[in-house]
């Protein structure tokens, strides 16, 4: 069975400082992993996806994530936070075998001026 755990429900960082949103996954098969972002009153937007071609994945808006099989992690990072990054972020695992897409509970990112 597949599952995904986002380790922090809220993260606060100051503008201009690094962002780290943590995600651990469990999968019986080689996983597909994604990060989505949801701004207030908006739909979900794909930030980046792990395709197995490279363990370090670059996404939109300066975000990147590193797939670490030994740690079963897929943490999302950004070197310098911007006020516009304030949103909720979801780590997602895709279960290829049974076509399910499973979401973590979300991490709300707050950016302090």
């Amino acid at each position: 069975a597949q599952s995904v755990t986002q380790l922090d429900s809220h993260v606060s960082v100051s503008e201009g400082t690094p962002v780290l949103l943590r995600c651990n996954y469990s999968s019986s098969y080689s996983p597909s992993l994604f990060w989505y972002v949801q701004h207030p009153n908006k739909g979900l937007q794909l930030l980046l996806k792990y395709t197995s071609a490279a363990t370090l994945v670059k996404g939109i808006n300066g975000f990147e994530a590193e797939f670490k099989k030994s740690e079963t992690s897929f943490h999302l990072t950004k070197p310098s936070a911007h006020m516009s990054d304030a949103a909720e972020y979801f780590c997602v695992v895709s279960a290829l075998r049974d076509d399910k897409i499973i979401f973590g509970k979300g991490t709300r990112l707050h950016i302090l001026p």
Binding site: L44, F90, I101, F103, G104, K105
Partner: protein, 114 residues
Amino acid sequence: DVKVTQSSRYLVKRTGEKVFLECVQDMDHENMFWYRQDPGLGLRLIYFSYDVKMKEKGDIPEGYSVSREKKERFSLILESASTNQTSMYLCASSPVLKITTEAFFGQGTRLTVV
């Protein structure tokens, strides 16, 4: 661009009413999903469908049913709405899942049951 359209952004219904939430996608995707989103709980899968007339229960199917008569349309039905079904409902579609496939989401329907 892929477009997933949910018929209503906001709905208010009374307890006991039968409620239909409609979702249409325009990219000929095989898979369609219904999630509900609640604070602190993330997105939980209600039902999904991988083909016309096919459906699979997700994690929280109780109190819901679905219909997929055409490939582009996936309907979520609340047979008898209850206040604990007040939530944001999100529809998604995707091609058959492969290593690079992502899901595309509608804007969501915020349902309030009074």
